[in-house]
Symmetry: D2
Subunit: 459 residues, 4 copies
C-alpha cells in the first residue's frame, strides 16, 4: 500500500573505481526508492576518509562541487528512510570515526535486534554514543575488537543479531557482509578495474553491468589487494530473505537471489488469479507503481484486460501541503486519480501489494466507486500482515495492523470492497523459489530470538 | 521521447470558492505535468490582488503560511515550463498590474504569433515592458482598450493570433477565453457555490468533480454576479485542438473535448497494431509514462503480452547531476532501465509517443539490445514530426527534427531499430473524432497566418 | 534614536569603468547604511541591460558568479530601505524595461510628491504598472516623452516634484539628475578612464578617490561620448538639502556639499555645549554610532571627558528574535549595553541625534540609571521634530511624533531625563553653512507645494 | 589588529531558568564577538538532552520555532570560531552523547595542550572519535571515569592541561570549571530562581543582572539541588589570565576578574601616553572598535583631541566578496575608511591594540597618508607579540609574527610609520592588577609544560 510501508536504507560501495564519489552518487540515485530522507557518501584516499551527507534526496544533497571534492577510488554510500523529524544529523549515514589509529566508515541496511544489549555492554566498557542509531553501535563493536580489520569485522559480525547488510571501509580495504539469514539483499559486481557493491542490482544496470554475485547469508566479502575474497564468518546460517523485498521494496528491474522482481510479482498475480476462477469481472487494474506487475500477471491468467485505471501524481514531495480535513470533506484529494473511462460501469479487480492499516485501501475503493465502478474486487499480492517486523520494515505495531485485529470478512467490510482475497503464504513461497523467505510479518515466526524484545511484541 | 517535448503552461482559476488559494494550489499540483519551472497564484479580494510566485514545483514554491495569507475567493494560477535559465522573475505568471484604476491579473497557456507586432504597436503608443513574455503584451493590450472589463477583453482577444487559453481577473470578475482554433484546452466546472476553471479536467477530479464544460474555440466565459455567461468574441472560428495534447501532454485521466486521453491513446495503439498484422513478436512494451496507454492498446489488438519492460527512475529532479561524457562512455546512464527478464531473448515491440531528434529513441533501442532483445520494432503512436510548432510546443527548429531531415528508412537506421512505423495522420484524426486536430507539426499546415514568421520557419 | 529613522535608498553608477558590476558592488556596500532591505545592480552592454537584484544586504544578494555574469562597463545600482514585508520583488531597484526600442534602467533615491497625479495621468494614457513604487512612474514618464534620451529625461524631470537623485542608463549613456531643491545628495568623480556616481562620497573613498563634484540642485549630468556634460533642466532652483542627511543618515567620512559629516556633527555638539554653560556633569557619552561625533564636540567644548558609555551589539541582523514581553519584563534587552564603570555614580550627559517617538530615548535613560547614573542630561544634536517628512524619511505621522504632541518639559518627563535640550534650528543652519538646509520636519515649512497631500498632513 | 586575531569560543549556561533555550540564545548573542562561525544550544529536560546547532551567527542558526522546541530549564550554549572550512558539523559544540546510561552535553572555551596524548590513551582503551575537536576528548575523558558526575568531572579535570572554561550538563546538574591558570574567563550570576553562567559578564548585563562571581582558577562550581557549591579540584593553581582577553577579545562593557575591560584599556592608553611626553601631535585616533578605549585614554593623558578618524563598514559579513588583486591595485578597499577632515594635514597618533603580521597596520598607515596625514605615529596598547599561543588564540606561527622576526626599528619601517612604540609588559601587568596575566605571547614564558609540543614551537 503505497504510502504505508517504509524500509530503512540502501547501501552502495566502490572498490578501486575511478570517480568513486560520482559512481556512488549514481548508485544511490538508483537506490533512492529504498529511502528518501537522507543521503551520504564517504570516500577514502590515502587512509583519510571524507564524509558528506545531509537530509533529502541524493540529487538535493550533492552538488557537482561536492562530488569533485570527494576524491578517491574507495567509497561507501547510503540512502536512508527515517521515521521521525527533528535534528538528527548524527544518525545520517555513512557513520565515520576519525582518529590517530585511522579513519573508518560504515553503512548499514537493516535492523539489529540486540542493539540495546550491545550498547549497554559497550557503554559499560567506556564507549560513548553521539547518536541513537544501531549503526554507531556496530562501528563501536568493530573498533573494540582486536586484530586486523578483517578479524575485527568478523568478531563483530558474530555478535550482531537481526537483519544487516553492511559495508565497512578503512585504508584501502572494503568489507561487505550480510546477516546469517540474509534478510536484506546485497550483491557485488565487476566494474572495469574495480568492483561495486549494492543493495539491489538495479544500481549495477544503470552502469551497464548485467552480471552480479550475491553476498550469501553469513558471508563476508573482503575487497583488498585488487580482489574480492569471500568467507563465512559463522557456521549458523539460516536463509530467510525478507519477503517484502520482492513484494514492495525492490525495483521491478532488480534481480535478487537470481529472481527478477517484476517476474516474481507477476507470478504472484497469476497465482491469485488461479484461485479466482469464478469471479466475473471486466477489467484488472493495479495500484501504481508497486502493484502493476502483479496486476499484469492476474490479467494475463484471468484473460481480462489490464488497464490504466489509477494515475499517480508524480510531483508529491516532502513539502507537499496536505489538504485540511475541511478540504477533504469537500472532496479534495491528491496522489491517486481514477481514469473514469476505464472504471465507469465496470466490475473492477484491483490488485494491491499489501494492506497495513487499511485506510488507504478504503480510500482507493471509494475513489473507484465514485468513478463509477459497479463492483470492486480487491486482491492482495501477499499474505495478511499479522505481526510487526523487527528487521527493518516500518509496519507499525500490532494494534495498528488491520490483519491482526480483524477477520478477512471484517477487513473486506472495512475497506468497503465487494470481495477481498490475499495470496497464501504457500503461494508466495512457491513464487520465490529457490529463495527461502522470511514471512514473520505474515506468520509471526521470527528467524531470530526475540525474547529480549518481548515487550515490544506485546504492544 | 519522454524528455524531448515541452509545453509552456497550465492554468487554473477559482470563482467564488472558499479558500481559493488552497484550491488553486491543488489544482496547479494536478497540472504540474504541464510545467515544472515556475508556479504562481494571484488572489483577488475587495479589488486588491495579491500575487505569490516563484521558480520550481508548486509544492516547493508555496508554504502553508503563503497560502493562508492569500485570502479571497477569486484566484488564477499558473504552472510554467520555460526554456532558458537566468533571472527572469518578470516572466513568471500570473502577471499582474497594480494601479489606481484597479488591480488586474492574468494567466496564459499558449503562444501568441503576432506578439512582436502587438508589442511594437503598444510601445509606439507609450507602453513599456519589464519582461519578455507575450503574457505581458496581452495584459497591456487589454488595459489599452476602453469600456468594461468584458468589452476590453473582447477587443483584445480579437487582436490576438495564435494559441491561447487565458484567464483574466479583476475586482469580482473572472473571464476565461480560448483562441478561435481551440489549440489549447480549457474547461470549467461547478464547485459547490462557485466555479473552477482548468487547462485539464484532471484538476477537477482531484476535487471530486466529474462533470465539466469546455470553453469553446473563440468563446469567452464571463464569471460575474455568481454565474458564468458565455459568448463568442469572434465569428471566425476554426476548430483545431493541438494533437500533442492527447499524444503527449495531457494526463491519462483527463477528458479533453469529451474524449478521455488514455482511451484515445489506447486507440492509437490499436490502430498501429492493425497495420502490423504480419509482425512476429513476443512482447509489447511502452516507454514510461506517456506511451503506456498506446502500448496497452497495441498489445490487446495484436494479442501479445503487454509487459513492464522499462523502469523510469522517479527521483530525477532539476538538481540531478548529469553523468559526464566519460561516465556515459563507461556505461553510466540514468532515468530509464530495462527489465532484463522481460527483454532478454525476446522480439520486442517498443511503443513510443513521438520522435523529435531521435537521440533518445536510439538510446532506448540500444538499452533494449544490451538487455538482450533479439529484435526491436519501434512503433510511434503519432505521425512523423516534420515541422516546428508555433503554438506553444517546444519542438525545436526544423533542422533538429529528424523527421524533417530523413526518410523513414534512414530514421529506422539512425535509431538502430529493426523496423519503424508511425501512425498515419488519418488514423490519428479518426481516433480523436469528433475533435478536429491541429496537425501542423506533422503536415506543415498551420491554422493561422504565419507570413510574418516566415523567417523562423526557414531556420 | 538609532532605530527609529529610516531613509529610502542609496544609488551608485559607473560610466566606462572596467568591471562595472564589481565596482558597483563595492560602491553599494559602502552605501549600505542607507538601506539594508534590498540591493540590485543593472549592467548595460551593447544596448542590452541585465538586472540582478534581491532582498537583503549587498553581500548576501550577490555571489562572485553573479557579478562575473554581469559584463559591461556601464552600470547603475541601488540599496533600498522599505517599510513593509510581503512579496514586492517588483519594487526592488534598479527598475528596468526591456523592449524592441531598447533597454533602459533607472535607480532613484528620494520620494516623488506628485506621484499619484503622474500615475493617474500615465494610466489615463494607457500605461500599466506592475509595482507600487514611484520609480516605476518615473520610468514611464521618461519613456512617454519624445526625442533623444537626454531630451526625454529633461522633460520628465521637469514634471517631477519632491526629492529625487536619479540615475538613468540606456545604450552607452548614463544621466544623473537631482531635484531642484537638492534634497538628496548626489556626486560624481573621475575613476581612471571613466566616471563613478554616488549618493555619498564615502563610496568614492573606498576606491581611493578623494575628489568629487556635486550634481547641483536642478542639474542633470549626461555621461556620453566619454565625458560628463552638465546643464540645468529647470530655472526654478531653490537649495534645501535634507538636514537629516548630516544629522543621521550619512557616514561620518562622507563629504556632502563640501562639508564633512563628522565635522558638522561635532560642531552641533559644540553649539549645544555653548548653551549649557551652567550644567554640572562628570562625563559625556554618545548614543552609538550616529551620535558619537556630536558627543565628541560637546565634550571638547564643555571640557568634560568623552567616554565609551554605551556598547552596541554588532550582530543584530534581520533574523534576530526579539525578546518576548515576558523576557523584557524579566530584564532581557539587546543591542545597547551600558559600561557601568563609566556610568556608575556619575552625572552623565547623553548626546543623541534626534527623538522621534521617544520610546528608545526613555529606554536608554533607564538603562543608564540602572547602571548607576546619578543624573542623566539628554542633549539632542538637532531641533525638535514636529512635522512628518514627505521627501523620503520615514518619520511616521504627526500623531506619533513626540515633538508634535508634547512640550519640552513633558518630553523631558516622558523620557525620564533630568534635563533635556535640543539644538536650535538657527544653530543647525549655522553649522551647515554654506549648505541651505530643508528643515521641514523641524519647522513645518516644506519647500514644495504639498496642497495635494494635505490629507496626509492632517493624519 | 582587527582582522588578525581570533579566539575559539564563548560559553553560556542556565541552571533552573525558565525558557533556558531563549535565555541562552540572548546570552550567546551577546558573546557573539567571541566566535561567529557556529552556534549551538543543548537543553536538558527529565534526563534527555536535545541539541540544536549549526554554522553561522546565533541569529542565523536559530528560529523562534527551534527555541520553542528546546524545552527545559537547564542548558549550555556555545559560539565558535574555527579556522578551517569544510564540512565539520561533528566539531560544532555543544558536544553531546546520548545513551542508556544517560545523556550528557558539554561546551568548552580554550585549548587542551595534552589533547593528543589523551586521545591516544582513550583510543587505546577502545574509544572512537567522530570529530577532531579536543572537546570530544574531554567528553570521553569524563565518561571514562567512575563515580558520580561530580567525581568524574573532577578526575577528568585533573588530567587536562591547557586553557579551559567548561560547562558540563547531565540530568539536573550543571558543572562549571576552569583551568588551574584561569586562562579563559568564566563567571556566574543569580537570575531570579536560577543561575546563569557565562564567559563574559556582558551576557549578564543584557539580562539586567549587574553582580556576578568569577569561577576561580582550578575551581569547579556544581549547580545541583538549587544551589551552586564550589570547590577546588586541584591544589596546583597558578593564576594567569590571558592578557588578550582584556586587550582584544572581551567587550568593553564586560568586567573580568573585577576589572572593567574599557577601563583597563583606557589605562593602557594613558600609560602609553606617559612614555610619549615629547611627541608633537595634533590628533589621536583609534582603530575601531577594539582600540577606541585605549585611544581615549591616550588622548586624555596627552591632552590631545580624540577624534573619529577611521570609519568601519558594519556590513562586512562572511559572504563579502573580497576585491581581486587587480581591484586592490586600482585602489579598491573595504572595511576601514579614513575621515579626511580629521586626518588631512595633521600629525596623527594612531592607537592600535596589537600587531600580528603587520600587513593590516601597514595598510592603515598608508590609508592615513593617502588621506593627508603629515605624520603617523603608531602606538600599540600591548607588548610585542613574539611567540605563538597554545591556549586558544589563533596567532599563527612564529614565522608569521612580525614581532618575532624584526626589530622595533624594522617593524616601524615595515608598517611605514613615523614612529612606533609598544606598551611594556610591566605597564600591561600594572594596568591589570590584581589579575595575574598570561603574557606568553609577549615573553615566551608559558604557564604549562609544553615539552610535548616542542615540535610546534619550532615551526
Amino acid at each position: 500500500m503505497f504510502d504505508e510501508l517504509h524500509e530503512e536504507c540502501g547501501v552502495f560501495g566502490c572498490y578501486q573505481c575511478q570517480d568513486a564519489a560520482s559512481l556512488t552518487y549514481y548508485g544511490l540515485h538508483s537506490l533512492q526508492h529504498r529511502g528518501q530522507e537522507a543521503s551520504g557518501i564517504a570516500v577514502a584516499s590515502h587512509g583519510k576518509i571524507q564524509v558528506f551527507k545531509g537530509k533529502g534526496l541524493t540529487v538535493d544533497v550533492f552538488s557537482r562541487e561536492d562530488l569533485d571534492q570527494l576524491e578517491g577510488d574507495l567509497s561507501v554510500g547510503h540512502v536512508r528512510y527515517s521515521t521521525a523529524g527533528g535534528q538528527e544529523y548524527e544518525n545520517i549515514q555513512p557513520i565515520a570515526a576519525e582518529g590517530y589509529q585511522g579513519d573508518i566508515a560504515l553503512v548499514h541496511n537493516g535492523q539489529i535486534v540486540n542493539d540495546r544489549e550491545l550498547r549497554k555492554e559497550l557503554e559499560a566498557a567506556g564507549a560513548i554514543f553521539q547518536g541513537t542509531s544501531d549503526s554507531e553501535v556496530i562501528l563501536h563493536l568493530i573498533e573494540k575488537q582486536t586484530g586486523t580489520l578483517e578479524e575485527r569485522v568478523k568478531k563483530a559480525a558474530q555478535r550482531l543479531e537481526g537483519a544487516f547488510s553492511i559495508l565497512v571501509m578503512k585504508d584501502d580495504t572494503l568489507i561487505a557482509f550480510r546477516d546469517p539469514h540474509g534478510l536484506r539483499p546485497l550483491s557485488y559486481a565487476r566494474n572495469r578495474q574495480g568492483w561495486i557493491i549494492s543493495s539491489e542490482s538495479c544500481a549495477f544496470e544503470v552502469m551497464g553491468i548485467y552480471r552480479h554475485t550475491d553476498v550469501l547469508p553469513g558471508q563476508m566479502v573482503v575487497f583488498k589487494d585488487g580482489l574480492p575474497r569471500s568467507s563465512f564468518y559463522t557456521p549458523k546460517r539460516d536463509h530467510h530473505l525478507c519477503a517484502m523485498e520482492y513484494i514492495y521494496f525492490a525495483r521491478p528491474d532488480s534481480v535478487i537471489e537470481d529472481k527478477n522482481v517484476h517476474a516474481l510479482c507477476k507470478e504472484t498475480g497469476r497465482l491469485l488469479a488461479r484461485q479466482d476462477k469464478d469471479l466475473q469481472a471486466d477489467v484488472v487494474i493495479g495500484c501504481p507503481d508497486s502493484s502493476l506487475s502483479a496486476a499484469m500477471g492476474y490479467a494475463e491468467e484471468a484473460d481480462l484486460p489490464f488497464q490504466y485505471g489509477l494515475v499517480k501524481n508524480r510531483f508529491v514531495t516532502r513539502t507537499f501541503i496536505q489538504p485540511t480535513q475541511a478540504m477533504r470533506d469537500r472532496g479534495v484529494r491528491m496522489k491517486l486519480s481514477p481514469v473514469r473511462e476505464v472504471i465507469d460501469g465496470r466490475r473492477v479487480v484491483l490488485i494491491d501489494d499489501s494492506i497495513v492499516r487499511g485506510t488507504t485501501s478504503r480510500r482507493i475503493v471509494n475513489l473507484l466507486r465514485e468513478a463509477g465502478a459497479k463492483e470492486v474486487h480487491v486482491r492482495i499480492a501477499s499474505p495478511i500482515i499479522t505481526s510487526p517486523c523487527f528487521y527493518g520494515v516500518d509496519t507499525s505495531t500490532k494494534k495498528e495492523l488491520i490483519g491482526a485485529q480483524m477477520t478477512l470478512e471484517e477487513m473486506k467490510d472495512y475497506i468497503q470492497a465487494d470481495t477481498l482475497y490475499f495470496l497464501s503464504p504457500e503461494d508466495l513461497q512457491n513464487a520465490a523459489e529457490p529463495s527461502a523467505l522470511c514471512m514473520a510479518c505474515f506468520t509471526g515466526e521470527y528467524c531470530t530470538d526475540l525474547f529480549s524484545h518481548q515487550e515490544q511484541l506485546e504492544n
